[in-house]
C-alpha cells in the first residue's frame, strides 16, 4: 500500500490522529520544494520524467513530487506548480522537465517560456494565484486537489483532513451536526437543491425498527459536459469519504455506498485506494477513532444509464434491478434502499460537509445569496477560451464566469447562449448574462442549476439543432416507465427532426410547447418533468431561429445539413487544392492556383473541406 510508506497505523483515538497529523506536516515541511503535477491526460508521463530526473540528480529527499488530481485549468494542462512560491507552468511536456529541474529547482530561476500568458494583456504571469482564471474563484472545495496526492491519505491528513470527523465524533452530538448543516444553508449540489440538513434530519427521525439506515453518495454524474464530481473523486476522494462518515454518524447509518459512473475508471480506482487506506487507518470500519461508531463504504459502478442519477432509480439499480424510478409519495429518507431510511447526497454536497463542521455554519452561510449558500463548482466548457472547472461563490453573475474567469469566447466569436443544468436544463441568452447564479434565479429564467455543467455557445450553434440534440439524448435515456416521458419525448423528437430537415410546419412550435407542458405536469420523475426545458427555453429566447427553419427553410447558424449548401468564396480561395484532395466525393474541382468550385449535386455536406481550408474560403449558406 502506498499510504504511510509501509508503516501501517491504525488510529485508535483523536490524539493519535493529531499526532499523525503533526508528523505528516513535518514530513511535508522537510522538503524545500513541492512539485505538483496535475491533469489526467499527459500528466502521468510528465510526472514519471520528474521522478527520474529528481532521482538522477539525487534531489528526491529535498524535493517532494506530488502527482495530484485536477487543478481545474484544463485548457492549459498538463500543469506543473512549484510550491511554496506557487509558480505555475502550463502545457508542460515531458521534454520540458529537465529544464524545470535545472533552472527552477536547482537554479531558482523561472522558465519563462512555460509561464501562462494572459491573452488580455499579453503579459506572462508567474504565480498561480495571479492568473485571472484562478484569481476570481473561491476554491474552498476544489482547491485542495492541487495540494495532495489522492492516493496518499497522509497528504490529506497533513492539510487538516479528518479533523472535522474528529470534531463531529468527539465534540458535538449528532443533533448538533444536523443543526449546523441546516444552519449553514447547504443545499444539494446534484441539481435539485434540497436543503441537506433537512434531508439528514428526516432520515435520522424516520423509524427504523431494525436500526438499519443507509447513506449513499451519488457519483453517477450523467450530465454531459459536467465533470466536477469526477475531479473531486479522482483528486480528493477523502473529502467525500469524510463528509459521508460525518453524515452517517449524524443520521445513525452504518453502511454507505458510492454509486459511480463506470466511464470514470480513475475515479473508481482512486476512491478504492482511499477507502482501503481509510480502513487501515481506522477511519472506516469498526470503532472509528475509538469512538465506538462503526461505518463502512462500498463502491458500486453504474451501468451507464442517465436516469440512475435520479435517486429512486439509483437505489433500484443498487438493489440489482433495472434503473427505473418510482413515485416519491414516500420519500427515500423514510423508505429507500431495501426499504430502509436512506439519505442520498451528491459528491460535491458531501465534500462540503467537512468544511461546514470545521469552520462553522455562521462562516459558511456568509458566502452566497439569501437562498443559496456556499460555493458551486461549474465545468465551464464549449466555445469558451478557458475550459475548466471553476468554483465560485453563489450569486456571481454568468458574465463574470464566462468573461472574467473563462476569458471570453474562442476565435473572437460572439456569445449566443450559455446552457446550464444538463440535458434537462435550459439555454440562457446573452441578454441575461448579468443574471446572478443561484438555484432560484436560474429556475426563474427557464434553466436550472443542475449538477453544474455550463456550456458556452457562440453564433455557430443552431439552437433548434441543440434542442433536438438534448431531446434525442433524453429520448434514449428515458427509462420508458411512464407514458408522458416515453411518448412525449418521442413526439417532440419527431417534430424537431422534421424542423431541422426543413419539413417544419405551421403550428409545430405551439405543439412543442403543449407537449412540454404535459411532460412537466404528468411525468413520474425529475427526468421527464424537466425534459422539455431545453425546448421550451430555446423557444422562449430563440423563437426566430425556429421560425427561420419552419417558414424560410433556413438555418441561420449554418448547421442543419438539409438547409445549407457549401460553396467556395472565389476571393479567398487560393487554389491550393487541399479541399479537393480531402473531399471524399470528389465534388471539388478547379485548376491549380485558380478558385475551385463545389458540385452541389455531389456534395454530402460532411464539412471536411471546411476543416482543411486554411483560408476560410468555404462558405456555408
Amino acid at each position: 500500500m502506498q499510504g504511510g510508506q509501509g508503516k501501517m497505523v491504525r488510529l485508535k483515538s483523536r490524539d493519535e490522529l493529531e499526532q499523525l497529523r503533526k508528523e505528516a506536516k513535518q514530513k511535508r515541511a522537510a522538503f524545500e520544494f513541492m512539485v505538483a503535477v496535475g491533469c489526467e491526460h499527459g500528466a502521468e508521463r510528465v510526472s514519471a520524467v520528474f521522478k527520474e530526473e529528481l532521482q538522477r540528480r539525487g534531489l528526491s529527499k529535498r524535493i517532494a513530487l506530488k502527482t495530484t488530481g485536477c487543478h481545474g485549468f484544463c485548457e492549459c494542462g498538463p500543469l506543473v506548480v512549484l510550491h511554496p512560491e506557487k509558480i505555475l507552468y502550463v502545457r508542460v511536456k515531458p521534454d520540458d522537465v529537465p529544464e524545470i529541474v535545472e533552472k527552477s529547482l536547482i537554479g531558482k530561476e523561472v522558465v519563462e517560456r512555460l509561464l501562462y500568458v494572459d491573452p488580455a494583456t499579453g503579459k506572462k504571469i508567474m504565480r498561480e494565484d495571479d492568473v485571472p482564471f484562478y484569481k476570481k474563484q473561491m476554491r474552498l472545495v476544489l482547491g485542495n486537489n492541487g495540494l495532495i496526492d489522492p492516493t496518499e491519505i497522509e497528504d490529506y491528513i497533513a492539510i487538516g483532513g479528518y479533523s472535522a470527523l474528529a470534531k463531529a465524533l468527539f465534540e458535538i452530538t449528532p443533533e448538533q451536526i444536523i443543526d449546523e448543516v441546516k444552519r449553514s444553508g447547504l443545499r444539494g449540489r446534484g441539481g435539485a437543491g434540497f436543503p441537506t440538513g433537512r434531508k439528514w434530519e428526516a432520515c435520522r427521525n424516520a423509524p427504523a425498527p431494525d436500526g438499519v439506515r443507509y447513506v449513499i453518495c451519488n457519483a453517477d454524474e450523467g450530465d454531459p459536459g459536467a465533470y466536477m464530481d469526477r475531479s473531486l473523486l479522482e483528486g480528493n476522494p477523502h473529502s467525500v469519504i469524510e463528509g459521508m462518515i460525518i453524515g452517517a454518524f449524524a443520521i445513525g447509518a452504518h453502511q454507505g455506498f458510492v454509486y459511480v459512473r463506470h466511464e470514470y475508471p480513475l475515479a473508481v480506482k482512486n476512491l478504492g485506494i482511499a477507502l482501503e487506506q481509510a480502513r487501515q487507518y481506522g477511519l472506516l470500519g469498526k470503532d472509528i477513532l475509538g469512538s465506538g461508531f462503526d461505518f463502512d463504504i462500498e463502491i458500486c459502478r453504474g451501468g451507464g444509464a442517465f436516469v440512475c442519477g435520479e435517486s429512486t432509480a439509483l437505489i433500484a439499480s443498487l438493489e440489482g434491478k433495472i434503473g427505473e424510478p418510482r413515485p416519491k409519495h414516500i420519500h427515500t429518507t423514510t423508505s429507500g434502499l431495501h426499504g430502509k431510511p436512506t439519505n442520498l447526497n451528491n459528491v460535491e454536497t458531501w465534500a462540503n460537509v467537512p468544511l461546514i463542521i470545521n469552520r462553522g455554519a455562521d462562516w459558511y452561510s456568509k458566502i452566497g445569496t439569501a437562498t443559496s449558500k456556499g460555493t458551486k463548482i461549474f465545468s465551464l466548457v464549449g466555445k469558451v477560451n478557458n475550459t475548466g472547472l471553476v468554483e465560485v461563490p453563489m450569486g456571481i453573475t454568468l458574465r463574470e464566469i464566462v468573461y472574467g474567469i473563462g476569458g471570453g469566447l474562442r476565435d473572437g466569436k460572439r456569445l449566443k447562449a450559455v446552457q446550464t443544468g444538463g440535458p434537462s436544463g435550459g439555454c440562457i441568452p446573452a441578454s441575461l448574462l448579468d443574471t446572478q447564479v443561484d438555484f432560484e434565479k436560474l429556475t426563474e429564467i427557464g434553466s436550472m442549476m443542475g449538477s453544474g455543467g455550463m456550456i458556452v455557445m457562440d453564433e455557430d450553434t443552431c439552437m433548434v439543432d441543440l434542442a433536438r440534440y438534448f431531446v434525442k439524448f433524453l429520448t434514449e435515456e428515458s427509462c420508458g416507465k411512464c407514458t408522458p416521458c416515453r411518448e412525449g419525448l418521442d413526439r417532440m423528437l419527431d417534430i424537431l427532426t422534421r424542423i431541422v430537415e426543413g419539413k417544419g410546419r405551421d403550428g409545430d412550435i405551439e405543439l412543442l410547447e403543449e407537449l412540454g407542458v404535459v411532460l412537466k405536469e404528468a411525468s413520474l420523475c425529475g427526468l421527464g418533468k424537466t425534459a422539455a426545458n431545453p425546448v421550451l427555453s430555446t423557444i422562449r429566447y430563440f423563437r426566430d431561429e425556429y421560425e427561420a427553419h419552419i417558414k424560410d427553410k433556413r438555418c441561420p447558424a449554418g448547421v442543419c445539413r438539409a438547409l445549407i449548401t457549401f460553396s467556395i468564396d472565389e476571393e479567398k480561395c487560393t487554389g491550393c487544392g487541399a479541399c479537393a484532395k480531402a473531399c471524399p466525393q470528389n465534388a471539388i474541382t478547379g485548376a491549380k492556383k485558380q478558385p475551385h468550385k463545389i458540385d452541389t449535386d455531389k456534395c454530402i455536406k460532411c464539412g471536411i473541406c471546411r476543416t482543411v481550408c486554411k483560408f476560410d474560403a468555404i462558405k456555408v449558406v
Partner: protein, 170 residues
Amino acid sequence: MEEKRLEKIDRIVETHGCRKERVIAILQDIQDEFGYLPEDALRRVAERLGVPLIQVYGVATFFKAFRLKPRGRHLVTVCMGTACYVRGAPAVLGELKRLLGIEPGETTDDMEFTLETVNCLGACALGPVVVVDDEYHEKMTPGKVKKVLRKYSTIDARRTRENGQAEVAR
C-alpha cells in the same frame, strides 16, 4: 472451452458473494473478461443467483454499458457530450460512420472496429474527443478521422474506396 468459460463466470459470481443485488457488478466483470455478455453467461448468472433469466437480461439490456454481441478488435468511442457536440462532434461521427460503413453500436464485418458513442467522458477541454481502445484523440475534425483509423488498421483505406460512393445518410 465451454467449461472454462462457465468456471470463470462462477468465479466472478462468487467474488460478489452470489448476491443478487450485485448483478450489475457481476455483468460488468463478465464483460471485462469476454468483451461482451454471451448468452450462456447470462443464463449461468441467473442460475447461480437464483433469479429468473428475464431479470438478468433486463439489466443487461437496460444499461448502456452492456453489449450482447462480441466487439471488434478496436473500439472506437465518440464522445457526444454537449461540449464536444457544440465543437463539432456530429461531423466527426458522420465521417466515422461513412468510413466504417456502420452505425453506432455496430461492428464492421471483418470484426476490426466497433463504433460506439458515449454521453460524456468529462474530458471537455480536449473536445471533440474520440477514444480508440484506451487512447484519446483530442480536438478531432472530420478531416483527421481517416488518419486516426489508419493508425489502427490498414483496412480503412480499402473500405474508404468501397464506401466512397455509397454515402451513409445522416
